[in-house]
């Protein structure tokens, strides 16, 4: 039986443009929205579209440094470049604030019990942004700003962030590296083969937080079966042990096999399965509360409409069994899929071994 979820979205998200040919461009959401509308998702009673609001300075400063925010404000006035991947055109900051505010709104709706789950379909993304540094298309770390808002305003103590973007969320990791109350698990493409070149299995947090950061790199070509295996073997037991009050998902859709800048092999059905497992896990540990925040995903035509639909419909517990990619997309891109299960099993075993040495960290909390 489907439930109604909140979809936080605003057409203003289509106005942000780093440059017209940038992978993180407005078409990402334009195609998806057209597809969601045509599919009838917005009229089926499973989704309410909720408008975001901009994040305030105070909310941003819970995560980012004052100096960095002032730098962004300066770039906002004059325009510039943060790094080669991350231009900062004049006026960009209002969109970044609206994205962070979108994540906050999604989280508030769930924590207040107005919706069981929410999806913040926002851009620009955020998980590469560090306290004092933007990078990788990201200016503000949306999911961290959401996390801190929930902790500051709603007294939430323990948050689990599941990041399944193909790229390791180095920004989120750095923000919470020493924070034992935030569990951060990232499944991402092998850092030897993809930006940001971090997210190795030994990155498990520091001090009291050791063991609350879990990096799960998977080889290029990894697909649905391997992701499901990783979830069952690592994600679920760790989250169950951590007992968060809410699960936040850095929902990167760039693990899809058609994505033009990554090399993974997840299908729309694979995404549905991942989200379904997340929802079931949330029901076990935190009353079903899940807030997904869009990160990457650049397969504008061949991937995003189908993966976003799968994620949204699964959050609403709708029947997703008929979601698939058009056959021509499969024919064109399926070559990227590789059977990587043996390597993934090895990685999972290594991580289990590493974590078993700091299991006491879990017991302390």
């Amino acid at each position: 039986m489907a439930v109604k979820i909140a979809l936080v979205y605003d057409e203003k998200y289509l106005e942000h443009e780093q440059d017209p040919t940038h992978p993180e461009r407005k078409e990402r959401l334009a195609y998806t929205m057209a597809y969601l509308v045509e599919e009838g998702v917005l009229s089926m009673g499973i989704v309410d579209v909720v408008k975001p609001r901009p994040a305030t300075r105070e909310e941003v400063l819970r995560v980012h440094t004052k100096e960095y925010l002032e730098y962004l404000e300066y770039l906002n006035r004059v325009g510039g470049v943060i790094d080669l991947d991350t231009p900062a055109p004049k006026g960009f900051l209002s969109y970044a604030l609206l994205a962070a505010g979108g994540a906050i709104v999604a989280g508030e709706l769930v924590v207040k019990g107005m919706y069981p789950r929410a999806f913040a379909m926002i851009r620009p993304p955020g998980h590469h942004a560090k306290p004092g540094e933007g990078a990788g298309f990201c200016y503000l770390n949306n999911i961290a700003i959401l996390t801190e808002h929930l902790r500051a305003k709603y007294g939430i103590k323990k948050v689990a962030i599941l990041d399944w973007d193909a790229h390791f969320g180095d920004g989120t990791y750095d923000i919470y590296e020493e924070d034992p109350h935030v569990l951060y698990i990232s499944i991402h493409q092998d850092p030897y083969t993809l930006y940001p070149g971090r997210g190795f299995i030994h990155e498990i947090g520091r001090g009291d937080a050791m063991g609350t950061k879990v990096c799960i790199p998977v080889p290029p070509g990894t697909g649905d079966e391997e992701y499901a295996y990783v979830f069952d073997e690592l994600v679920a037991p760790i989250v169950e042990m951590f007992k968060p009050e809410i699960i936040l998902v850095s929902a990167g859709q760039d693990c899809h096999f058609s994505d033009p800048i990554t090399w993974l092999g997840v299908t729309a059905q694979g995404y549905a399965k991942l989200m379904s497992k997340t929802v079931e896990l949330a029901k076990k540990v935190c009353g079903g509360k899940v807030v997904a925040v869009l990160e990457g995903g650049y397969g504008v035509e061949a991937g995003l409409p189908y993966t976003n639909l799968a994620v949204i419909a699964t959050l609403a517990e709708a029947n997703t069994s008929t979601i698939r990619e058009p056959r021509i997309v499969v024919e064109r891109y399926w070559w990227k899929r590789r059977k990587t299960m043996p390597q993934v099993i090895k990685t999972v075993e290594k991580i289990k071994d590493l974590l078993s040495k700091c299991i006491g960290v879990f017991r302390k909390m």
Partner: protein
């Protein structure tokens, strides 16, 4: 009215009456109005009665609003429909929208590119095995490329008469579930429009139907979106009110033969509502209204010693030769009116009262109070500001009683009893035209015509595409000789973005929908 002046002819075809209004479009004067009982006249016969007959030839158009489509939808067992659906990838299909459903392969993507083709022959074979009353054909993104639906239509039309087939690309809006619900309804209701076309005989060439948004659509286009005529009568009474009273705010109470409709209006405009069908939203906009079956032709009875209205039309009132007592007869008695042959009303009310040992005056007032109380409930539910506006033949008698109970003022506009027909006569041509522009392929797809135009231009600006849509709208209007009464054009949807392939911008995608806004083009001056 002198021959040679511009004549606008409006009809409102209800369950009981055919209302006719002739408007001198140059002067804004109602030069003739009449009510003809449907028990006596067909639509064509009503048009043959003087003085309408002498103007019907010169009238450019016959504008018709009707409650028949809505009444058929509400009261009649509609024909069954086979929904032929090409959903492509996505969530499970809305197979429960129709009595039967055939899912076929075929997928048009968000860019209007056919990624998976359809086997139209397979559809035809599947239909041959079924007993088919009507067919609705729907494919995802058909408004960005109608070819799959057109192929299926061609195959199906070899088996099923075209007047029983509907396609979804005639509706220019995204949301294929809503298009499907709308198309299934059109498939079921097309025959109602065809019946009226047949009844109109030779005048049907000039026929325009009034849609639920109050605008007029020529037969040629209306027939393919028949479901849009749901709410036609309610919308035309709003346009009629606009024509007579201007942009007033209030609650129209339209007392018809079968139903009493309560329609809130704000600044002359109805509040729009979306019609639902089988738990699905449609793309059909109707005025928000509340309705009860308690009109003048409804029967009356005695329940527990009190006079009550029977929520069912029983035929002509005794005052007009009928055999059973009706609300009209009760009103005639209670308010001592002389509607029709009031002696017959008195006699039949007295007979009914006698059977139940009641005072006939008490019985008649019980019925009137019952009707009034029911309408007061509806008025409170719609909760709009402003006076009550009495329309319909019995409106001027009942609405003052309702206003008194509600503690509000009321207006009885001039021509109140034929305001629907005046609305039909004075409204504008209204059409929604969509253009999906794919710059990478340098082509534009238009709805509802399904026309595809190759432009070769990859990059376009907003004004260029809006102009294309406007041109298409006017070109359709021109072809139908309706250019002279196109309403104000407004853009109801616009979005655009650039397609980037291989790191380079390849062209623009634009989706734009414009419409000519329905409104009263003639202001009645008295």
């Amino acid at each position: 009215m002198a021959i040679g002046r511009r004549v606008s002819l409006g009809l409102d075809v209800g369950g009981t009456n055919i209302d006719v209004a002739l408007i001198d479009a140059d002067e804004g004067v109602v030069s003739y109005y009449g009510k003809f009982s449907r028990y006596v006249y067909t639509i064509a016969e009503a048009l043959m009665i003087e003085p309408v007959r002498q103007y019907v030839e010169s009238a450019k158009r016959v504008m018709l609003s009707t409650s028949r489509v809505l009444n058929t939808f509400l009261e009649t067992k509609l024909p069954s429909t086979v929904l032929v659906l090409a959903p492509g990838p996505g969530l499970p299909s809305p197979t429960n929208l129709a009595e039967d459903c055939i899912i076929v392969e075929g997928y048009v993507d968000p860019r209007g590119i056919i990624l998976e083709d359809v086997d139209a022959g397979k559809v035809a074979r599947a239909l041959k095995e079924r007993s088919v009353e009507s067919v609705a054909i729907v494919s995802k993104f058909s408004i960005r490329n109608p070819i799959l639906e057109q192929r299926i239509f061609e195959a199906v039309s070899r088996i099923v008469p075209r007047e029983r087939i509907a396609v979804s690309y005639r509706i220019p809006f995204l949301d294929y579930r809503r298009r499907a619900a709308t198309t299934v309804l059109t498939a079921k209701l097309k025959s109602v429009l065809y019946d009226m076309v047949r009844e109109l005989g030779p005048w049907s060439k000039k026929l325009y139907f009034i849609k639920g948004d109050g605008g007029a659509l020529p037969l040629e286009l209306a027939i393919d979106v028949a479901a849009l005529a749901l709410g036609s009568s309610q919308a035309s009474v709003v346009i009629g009110t606009q024509a007579v009273l201007g942009n007033v705010t209030g609650i129209v109470i339209d007392v018809g033969g079968t139903t009493i409709d309560v329609v809130p209006i704000v600044n002359g405009e109805p509040l729009a509502a979306t019609l639902r069908f089988r738990d699905f939203d449609t793309h059909i906009t109707v005025p928000r209204f509340e309705s009860i079956v308690a009109g003048g032709d409804c029967g009356i009875t005695v329940v527990s010693g009190r006079g009550r209205v029977v929520p069912r039309r029983v035929g002509a009132p005794a005052a007009f030769g009928g055999e059973q007592a009706t609300v009209t007869d009760a009103l005639n008695y209670a308010l001592e009116l002389d509607i029709g042959d009031h002696t017959r009303s008195r006699r039949i009310v007295e007979e009914l009262a006698g059977k139940h040992g009641m005072d006939p005056r008490d019985l008649a007032w019980d019925v009137v109070d019952d009707v009034v109380d029911r309408v007061v409930g509806l008025v409170k539910r719609v909760g709009c500001q402003g006076p009550l506006i009495a329309t319909g033949y019995l409106g001027k008698y009942i609405v003052p009683l309702i206003a008194k109970k509600c503690g509000v003022s009321y207006i009885v506009p001039e021509h109140h009893h034929v305001l629907n027909a005046i609305g039909a006569a004075t409204t504008s041509f209204s059409l929604e035209v969509g253009v999906y522009y794919d710059g990478v392929r340098g082509r534009a797809v238009f709805t509802p015509t399904g026309r595809i135009v190759e432009t070769g231009r990859r990059f376009v600006d907003r004004e260029y595409v809006i102009e294309m849509a406007r041109d298409e709208l006017f070109s359709v209007a021109r072809r139908l000789d309706a250019e002279d009464f196109v309403g104000d054009i407004e853009v109801v949807h616009y979005d655009e973005f650039t397609v980037v392939e291989g790191g380079l911008p390849q062209g623009m995608i634009v989706h734009c929908i414009v419409r000519s806004r329905p409104k009263a083009l003639i202001r009645i001056v008295g």
